[in-house]
């Protein structure tokens, strides 16, 4: 047993609007500068769809994550040894086209155009070359694009769907789509850390945040190819790789990360999870279908006195344990079994979990007339998205895992309907209560619907004074903090 603490997350996809406020907030604060134009540390994808960079989930192509065929696990991209051999030619890197060529517009032409014979216009120009360009792809090109033969049809997670199920996804009345917000998962078994030839990437002990040291990074980009989620990015101006930092400067000040604070769908939950680091290797090597459950097993009960005692022995401070007990993430993932990791088969043990979306009842279409009167409420039996697809996304193909989550989500809803309207049969209510006990259903409902931002996002105390004390007297630091030159984020070597 080796207990560590990590600031972890749940995204409740049923509530996600796909508004991208998270992405814009992040961009405003962190990546609105030269070399970082194309980076979206946080992005939102429409599913089914191909995402950003395009088809990032296709590891046959990008070779990210860990190879489950080999024990002990090895990076698909070949690990450090192979990485070093390929330092100057990394065939697995996404190209600029896979992301997109960042562009802007010659807005100033609207002011500066001389008197002419037609209306002036601000043309699009490349932010890389400065030349006029006609954008062909972007970080969200397939937004809201269910039913597209170009994008939705090329979603790697459609694998295994029957031809009928596939066809349904491209019929106007029967199709579906939902949103998948993505950021760095701050994985337990992070491939980027393993892939870095410079040893520049590390996982912070106090909060599990994975960081790329901007002084040590030499821009080899092995982290870019190693990360199966494509959540590290190469800054082509600074010559270093960068990634989501979980807004640690905000966390350290007791403030929630930007994308959480700005999540207007109120889908984001954050809190501390305790886990057993000793179990990582064994867990990550299990067959794909067992991974979601096994990862859940790694997470420890912060209320268990034995866990608390061991955690103290492993150096986890009391306030952090207190925060772990308040963690909504623990409840969603462990207590309630409602949240699953994204693509556990990549074996990085991602610490961001998703509650899958309920979607409308599937319509029956006959003679141009659509009918959905077979069911009143979203149900599994009349579900719009095949379970197979959701299982491919969230459970390494294990449909039972996903089905169990849906059964519970629906059971909570039906109990609330029964309580607030009372138009369900006694049998239906009993059945729902058997799946989720009424008291638990009420707690799930409260957390899903009523919780305030402080209940949803529990930022643990970070004990900065102790961290600073390791190199400077905090009393001294207090007065000197911030003095000195700030360096522009530009290439310095």
């Amino acid at each position: 047993m080796n207990i560590r603490a990590q600031v972890s997350s749940v995204f409740h996809l049923d509530k996600c609007i796909g508004c991208h406020t998270c992405s814009v907030t992040c961009k405003n604060i962190w990546t609105d500068r030269k070399g970082a134009e194309y980076m979206w540390w946080n992005n939102v994808e429409t599913k089914p769809g191909t995402g950003y960079p395009t088809r990032w989930e296709d590891q046959e192509h990008y070779r990210g994550g860990w190879d489950g065929e080999k024990q002990p696990l090895q990076l698909r991209s070949g690990g450090k040894g192979k990485g070093l051999l390929n330092l100057f030619h990394n065939p697995d890197l996404p190209s600029m086209d896979d992301y997109y060529e960042p562009w802007t517009y010659r807005y100033q032409d609207l002011f500066q155009a001389g008197q002419g014979s037609d209306q002036p216009v601000a043309r699009s120009v490349s932010m890389v070359t400065g030349q006029p360009m006609d954008p062909q792809s972007g970080p969200n090109w397939d937004d809201d694009l269910g039913g597209s033969s170009l994008y939705a049809a090329n979603d790697p997670s459609l694998e295994g769907l029957t031809p009928d199920e596939r066809q349904q996804l491209f019929a106007t009345e029967r199709m579906a789509f939902f949103y998948l917000p993505r950021r760095c998962n701050h994985c337990l078994n992070a491939a980027c850390v393993a892939g870095c030839p410079s040893g520049a990437i590390y996982k912070r002990g106090e909060d599990g945040v994975v960081l790329i040291n901007q002084e040590k990074c030499r821009g080899w980009r092995m982290c870019v190819s190693a990360c199966p989620y494509k959540k590290t990015y190469y800054n082509w101006t600074a010559g270093k790789s960068e990634k989501c930092i979980s807004c640690y400067p905000r966390l350290e000040s007791g403030e929630m990360p930007g994308c959480y604070a700005s999540c207007v769908g109120r889908i984001r939950y954050m809190g501390v999870l305790l886990y057993d680091a000793a179990g990582i290797a064994a867990t990550a090597g299990l067959p794909p279908q067992e991974l979601a459950a096994a990862q859940r097993e790694l997470i420890l009960n912060p209320h268990d006195p034995a866990v608390i005692a061991q955690a103290r022995r492993d150096g986890i401070p009391f306030p952090l344990l207190e925060a772990a007990r308040q963690s909504p993430v623990y409840r969603f993932v462990k207590e309630w079994g409602l949240a699953l990791p994204l693509h556990p088969e990549f074996r990085t043990l991602p610490m961001l979990f998703y509650v899958p979306p309920l979607l409308p009842v599937l319509a029956k279409v006959e003679g141009g007339v659509a009918d959905m009167a077979q069911a009143s409420f979203s149900s599994l039996e009349k579900a719009r998205l095949p379970l197979r697809y959701l299982a491919n996304l969230f459970a390494g193909g294990n449909e039972q895992e996903v089905e169990a989550v849906y059964r519970r989500l629906i059971a909570v809803r039906l109990q609330r309907r029964a309580d607030s309207v009372g138009d369900l049969s006694a049998g239906e209510v009993e059945q729902a209560a058997a799946i989720v006990a009424p008291q638990v259903a009420r707690e799930i409902y409260r957390m899903s619907a009523l919780s305030s931002i402080k209940e949803r996002i529990v930022v643990p105390p970070m004990a900065r004074e102790m961290a600073i004390e390791a190199h400077t007297d905090p009393h001294e630091h207090r007065g000197a903090n911030g003095f000195g030159a700030r360096l522009a984020p530009a290439r310095r070597w």
């Binding site: 405003n28 609207l110 155009a113 039913g147 597209s148 409308p360 409420f377 009372g422 305030s452 190199h471």
Partner: protein, 1207 residues
Amino acid sequence: MSWIQDIIDPQARTWEDFYRNRHQHDRVVRSTHGVNCTGSCSWNVAVKDGIVAWEMQATDYPPLAGEIPPYEPRGCQRGASCSWYLYSPLRVKYPYLRGVLQDLWREARSQHDDPVDAWTSIVESPESRRAYQQARGKGGFRRIDWEEALEMIAVSTIYTIKKYGPDRVIGFSPIPAMSMLSYAAGSRFLQLLGGVNLSFYDWYCDLPNASPEIWGEQTDVAESADWYNSKFIAVMGANLGMTRTPDVHFLAEARHNGTKVAVLSPDLNMTSKYGDWWIPVHASQDGAFWMAVNHVILKEYHHEAPTPAFLDYVKRYTDSPFLIELEKRQDSWQPGRMVPAAKLTPYREVENGEFKFLVWDETSSAPRMPLGSLGFRWQERKGEWNLKMEDGLDGKPISPRLSFADENDEVLKVRFDDFAGTEKLLRSVPVRYVESDRGTIAVTTVYDLLMAQFGVARPGVAEGCARDFDDETAPYTPAWQEKYSGVGRDTVIRFAREWADTAQRTDGKCSIIIGAGINHWYHANLTYRAGIVALMLCGCVGKNGGGLNHYVGQEKLAPMAPWLTIAGALDWTRPPRFQNTPSFHYVHSDQWRYERAVDEEQLNPASHDGPLAGGHTMDHQVRAVKRGWLPFFPQFNRNSLDLAAAAQADGAKDAPAIVAWSVEQLKQKQLHFAVEDPDAPENWPRLWFIWRGNALSSSAKGQEYFFKHYLGTHSSAIAPETARDGVTEAVWREKAPEGKLDLVVDINFRMDTSALYSDLVLPTATWYEKDDLNTTDMHSFIHPLQAAVAPCWEARPDWDIFQDIARKVSELALVHLPEPILDVVAVPLQHDTPAEMAQREVRDWSRGECEPIPGKTMPGLVVVERNYVDLYQRMLSLGPGARENGLSMHGLTWSVQPEYDELLASRPVHQWDGQCYPSLERASDAANIIMHLAPETNGEVAYRAFVAEEKKVGLPLVDLAEKNRSVRTSFEDIARQPRRLLTSPCWTGISNDGRAYSAYCLNVERLVPWRTLTGRQHFYLDHQSYLAYGEHLPTYKPKLEAALLQDLVASEPEGRTIALNYLTPHGKWGIHSTYGDNHRMLTLSRGLHPLWINDRDAARIDLQDNDWVEVYNDHGVVMTRAVVSARIPEGIAFIYHAPERTVGVPKSPLRGGRGGSHNSLIRTRLKPNLMAGGYGQFTYGFNYWGPTGTNRDTFVLIRKLEGEPQW
């Protein structure tokens, strides 16, 4: 796991300061976004090094009471991208003037001592005029200094006032609620000088006419938190995920609380995702669906198993028990007017008896006259305007009978309209015979007419009704609607049953969230009504969790009364000149000239022939103005100042004499309404101020006609002028004028399309650079805008800019308009005034059908005094009118004398001419004045307003204000934390004690009447125009046929082309045109605003996703790229509202020039019966009533662009 490094050396982590330094900032200021967006989200703006670095949502909204999710956080992707504008290359940093005009101006200035003479020499020279007008929109801007810009504006203002009259100076600024002071700055200036403010809500086609029709209310809705209280939410025409981004969590969360959500939408949209049901209804056919839902509800829950709560509700709160006279017309009976009490002997002498109406009392088995109708509202004796079911004559309780089905004198065969079918329907209706002043008349109830209209067969009254739900031939059955809506009958039936069951179990917690996707259609009022009928039938209006929630465009300006006083300059002069924009642009931008009467009249089928229906829309428009139904400016073909002077010269000594003289002139046809000859140069609008808005693009329906006729520049419209032979009421001039406007001034912080096409662009402060106030109907808080940084470069807040312009005008007036001068102002018959009783019968004085009587048979005429020298001082001073007249709203007036005096004592004052006034000089002071005088923010004022309301209504109400009496909310307070608005008689909800605001709770719980004819909610609309057009009962009119729309008369298919219905729903990457041109939103979308098309439709023209397309029709052309998806059904295409034509738009090979905006493909179309006026709730109110600028019934041709786009 050796590669997971535990870094021991703390020095190795000091680099982490890299990101910490970026994040550290110096100041956080609360502000919000001040135009278009109605989200009213509180934002924290972070300032670093004196530069706005980013914005982040505030999360400190005080919670509502009870089990309801909190409001935090509010704010979306668009708002989060606002800070991009401040320092961007799109920012207007300095005043700009087009070089051609500058050269002309400087030349003229050098030749004329007087600047007004200089201006005259330019605008009155056809050559100069053409030179700078044709240069509009074609580049050539030059930076100029503020003083030069201000002088030119003031000169043009003075010139226009003197030469043509002040009502040729117009201003457009939309939806004030979001930055109400910035709006008020310009409107106050315009109203002080006698200029014209153009409306927006109706023009945007956001005004849901059904709301004034049914409730006499512009719009009142629940705050979004109240969605959570609803147990069945039907969403239609509203894409909440896209457009109500900060609120949609309440929908998702309500579902988690067991609420059923049904989304009606032709495309699988962002909101369908939240639905239990996504009902893929055919575009615009939701009305057919709801008509059938109503059929099921009436049959099963009213007739077969009557639900006591539903029957009780419709009796108490709707017009359903009121008596309607059946009229014999040709061979058949038809529903006619509501029976006025004065027609019956017992009530003959009653005051306003023509406007008090009758129900059938079960106890006395006779017609009785319940309290609360219009006549009680405006009678001498106060306190009888309430919803108590008591007789107005003797106070006896009335037990109204809903139906005569069981007890009648006869069952008559009555004709009903079936606008989708070919034949009139004959259905049986039970009647009682009543002795009236015209002998025996047959009367029935509204309820019986409803049953018959919906075809519900009842014993004894079954003839002509539907056999059963599967009867496809009977209008409004579930089977009937399938062919229109594309929705299965089983779905309709189950929907209706679940709806009614839920309402029954929860006391009315069913709601409809509705929006532009319905309201932008020509027959939107009918679709709305069909939905509202389902709400009323199940007792859902006026309940928390129930009702119609329309969130488009209006957006509640909560402290309305004091704001309107300032914005309308009512503290100095009244009435203001407020113009309904749909009529204005329809007429002045000459869109009427392209409309063919024979086509138009088929679009709106009439119930029967008669003078009130049919003919060219322009004729309806002209008649509506002459009758006083709608305003129109310019008023007359003469300068309104000259008119008063001429009257005086002719011996008119006082105001009544000037009015009488003017009426005589009209009667003698010596004076004409300008609307009768809009293309005559003396009737053109001349000077246009645009601020806070995009009047020449996102607000320019028929953009290419704007360019041609207003601006006189290039246009890609090719439509033939077809009105000539159809118009009888207006003068047809062979050559339509091009370039009516002398000067267009745009006040803007971004170089948008309006700025690009204006003559003069003034740099304004962004929303992070000024102080202002912001409210909405989406929630119940009031927010500040605040300057996080001072206005950048040479920008100034609108508040200050209009003061500067006023100063300059007053300076020039010393020479040009030195004396106070009289002005004759025309006012239409207004809602919430006794003019609601002006016209029981429609008569036309100009045809000699009656006398022209101002304020009765024609517009009111009011003589006011203008003082141009004092205009600047008045701008800055809250005038004595506020103290003397008190504040008014909805016909309710209360004093604010103590508060006015408190302002003088405790807040900054402005002194001039020996007098002292509360100062409006600084925006933050004005904000405090508004908040100190508003019932919504000052508890004592709320109390006083409720005292006044109590007197009118005659029932206790002040208890609603008692607890909050000590509340005073100031600008400083809301800078600290959002504050909740107080319950106020100006609105219809009750929000005390943390209760969520829901509309009409005040009416239902406290028996305050709705402001309608009966004082109740109306199923039945008996305005003669409505009877003529067959819209007296809820009904269905079919989708407009493409062949009649005149979109494709001159346009030919070019190569492989497809014709599709062209829709412009509100989009994801902009709020109207704001944000849609910024780098963030363009990057997250496709770098432009694409055309969305179904995959099968795309295949028909060999179109792939991402291909460039040319989209065109007679009105104009759009160049964009295609997004191909099965998400969009066949037959329709989307371009989300509202792209700029300034960013990423290539040229059109077909039309030659630059592609247009989405509004290039549109010609607006007015629905004539929405011009109805002079009677009850059918009386004019600014943004409140009138035809809307419909735009969705439009067809376009689409073809793939061959080769590379040309720039």
